[in-house]
């Protein structure tokens, strides 16, 4: 197994070379690229399950369908939609798929630091996912608490909260192990010459994310354990009848779950920082500013959790402090947006589908981010708390932000991952229903929220009906766009043209190797002599 750097080309990682073949070769592979694809397939499947649940929830708001779904089922639906989308798609999202696949390649390594632990993380992920699905059909029925599992309702409800919470605990474990693996990889496995400030910005983003995963996830783990202990043994820590305090639950829950938002968005921003310079054909504007803004988002973003609790009855001082800190997070986020736009300025822009989706990301993320700043202001927050405005806001951030960045990253790296090129026309065609539907759905929600429509309600008053119809029609367009998008990619995997090694003229390390990458990524570990986005005038071959 020792160095066999023969001059013969290595086989692609997609070819089974070991003793096992077919499915088993994938399920037992510790190759980071295969683990990345395992994550991709499972994650996209869960994403569609979540999307279908969302679609059904929108149908309920068309009063014609009210009879199909009871109010209790509706409660279960929004819980499930949240749990699946948050814990199974957006949180692991970019780090688990593109982090796994590209982190080692971007830093010139052959694999992650702990390959077996990496595969184990995927099994933890799947175990958590299966338990979450089991929670629907076993015990007292599907959980109806919302994805936040707020105490004391989550302690008292007869539905199967314990299993769902345990599933989230396992998923947290998967997330922590991934974080440990990535930090060690970045510290120990960079190629010669790959100094900290020669790392691509995606790596910086993953590094910041991994630190949040380590420092915040255990808090939610222990909180969920406390909920389980409470349900089985009645330890009373969150139970006001026994002297406990539900506000403590909210604090502990959001200490993790707010930074989790940055676990979702930071790698997305990292991917955008890769895409923009490649298609502007010039180096990124303000490399260090972007790198440090990732770290400072991770830092400050961990300290803003209680802005989810402005109406919960906490102290005035805490409200002021958390409102201020919330405003501060907007600064590093804005730095990134300014730098991306400045990178495009006077670039020789090559307009391709990944850039198209990256620009959509910037647009949608700005709406998500700015509505976030609005809610950071105490006075506005009290008015719009727990309304559709919040729902619209976080869908702009998580779906418009992370989701679109995920699509952009997928389009950007798809030729490298599969060695096939998709039909650009089909992708452009899918963009229109997706983008238009998205804005009908979620901008509709923003307006509904301003009008006073509360979130998680099964029925609505007549004055909200028109916008509910608009949003529901938007959800149909959105799902249509998603089906076209993934249909085009699926078609390309099987029938697509063979992709070039470097279809976009990128200059980071992944574009120096064949598509799809060989088993060990590099024939020889590269020696890095310059920064990541160094475009020569004639570099495009």
């Amino acid at each position: 197994m020792s160095s066999t750097h023969a001059s013969t080309a290595q086989p692609s990682y997609l070819v089974d070379t070991g003793a096992r073949q077919g499915l088993m070769a994938w399920l037992t592979s510790t190759d980071h690229k295969r683990v990345g694809l395992l994550y991709l397939y499972s994650m996209v499947s869960f994403f569609f399950v979540g999307a279908i649940i969302g679609l059904v929830m929108r149908l309920v708001q068309l009063t014609t369908f009210e009879k199909l779904i009871t109010a209790q089922t509706y409660n279960a639906l929004f819980t499930l939609h949240g749990v699946i989308m948050i814990f199974l798609f957006v949180i692991p999202g970019l780090p688990a798929v593109f982090g796994n696949f590209f982190l080692p390649i971007l830093i010139g390594a052959k694999d992650v630091a702990f390959p077996r632990l990496n595969l184990a993380s995927w099994y933890f992920y799947m175990a958590g996912a299966i338990l979450a699905v089991l929670a629907l059909f076993t015990g007292g029925g599907a959980p109806d608490t919302g994805w936040t599992f707020y105490a004391p309702f989550s302690l008292k409800t007869g539905t199967n909260v314990s299993l769902a919470v345990f599933a989230a605990f396992i998923l947290g474990f998967s997330s922590m192990l991934t974080g440990i693996n990535f930090i060690t990889t970045i510290h120990r496995m960079r190629a010669p010459g790959m100094s900290w400030f020669r790392m691509p910005l995606m790596v910086w983003a993953i590094y910041s994310t991994a630190w949040i995963q380590l420092l915040a996830t255990p808090i939610v783990a222990i909180t969920l354990v406390l909920v389980i202990l409470e349900r089985f043994f009645g330890i009373g820590i969150f139970d006001p009848a026994k002297g406990g305090d539900p506000l403590l639950y909210q604090h502990l829950f959001w200490i993790y779950s707010h930074p989790a938002v940055y676990i979702m968005i930071l790698p997305a921003m990292g991917a955008i920082s890769e895409i923009i310079p490649t298609f502007a054909k010039r180096t990124i504007f303000g490399y260090k500013a972007i790198a440090f803004s990732s770290m400072s988002i991770a830092g400050v973003g961990s300290l803003v959790w209680a802005h989810h609790m402005f109406t919960s009855g906490m102290s005035n001082l805490a409200q002021l402090v958390f409102s201020l800190l919330t405003m501060i997070v907007a600064v590093p986020s804005a730095i990134k947006v300014f730098n991306w736009v400045s990178t495009l300025y006077k670039g020789s822009i090559d307009f391709q589908p990944p850039l198209f989706f990256a620009l959509s990301f910037i647009f949608l993320f700005c709406i998500g981010g700015l509505t976030g700043v609005m809610q950071g202001a105490l006075a506005i927050n009290v008015h719009i708390h727990d309304t559709y405005f919040i729902v619209g806001h976080f869908h702009y951030v998580m779906f418009g932000g992370t989701g679109f960045a995920f699509f952009a990253a997928l389009l950007y790296w798809f030729p490298k991952m599969f060695g096939k090129m998709y039909s650009k026309k089909a992708i452009y065609a899918s963009w229109y229903p997706m983008f238009i539907g998205f804005n009908m759905l979620y901008f509709g929600m923003l307006i509904l929220g301003m009008m006073g429509m509360p979130r998680r309600y099964y029925v609505h008053l007549p004055q909200y009906h028109t916008l509910h119809v608009v949003a529901t029609v938007g959800s149909w367009l959105l799902v249509l766009g998603l089906l076209m998008f993934f249909g085009a990619l699926l078609y390309a995997i099987f029938k697509g043209e063979k992709a070039e090694d470097n279809p976009w003229g990128g200059v980071t390390l992944e574009w120096t190797i064949p598509s799809p990458p060989p088993l060990e990524n590099f024939e020889e570990i590269p020696i890095v002599t310059r920064g990541p986005y160094h475009f020569e005038p004639q570099a495009k071959s």
Binding site: L247, I255, S302, L303, A318
Partner: protein
């Protein structure tokens, strides 16, 4: 290649002997004794004992038993960042609890 400061201190070139760790252990026992003693002097003394002696004991275990003394700066930074994060969580939480 740009190997940074974290690798500067090479681990376990000079291994410490049995004696050092036994001394640390004795120090830990003495500190435990002090902690118990202080806790009998009333609530204020007990709280101060808790706030000073306990971190000291934990520090000794971290520094010697867990070999932080012999590691480069990276592990020390990792531990300090962790403790600092917890401390900030703690402070921010008390901006609510203590002022409600």
């Amino acid at each position: 290649m740009s190997e940074h400061a974290e690798h500067a201190v090479d681990h376990t070139q000079e291994h410490p002997g049995y004696g050092l760790f036994i001394k640390v252990w004795i120090a830990l026992l003495i500190l435990t004794g002090c902690l118990v003693g202080v806790s009998h002097l009333g609530q204020t003394a007990a709280v101060w004992g808790l706030l000073t002696l306990t971190p000291l004991k934990a520090g000794l275990v971290f520094y010697y038993f867990m070999h932080l003394k012999y590691e480069g700066p990276l592990f020390k930074i990792v531990v300090l960042v962790t403790l600092g994060t917890l401390l900030i969580f703690f402070a921010l939480l008390f901006s609510d609890v203590a002022f409600r």
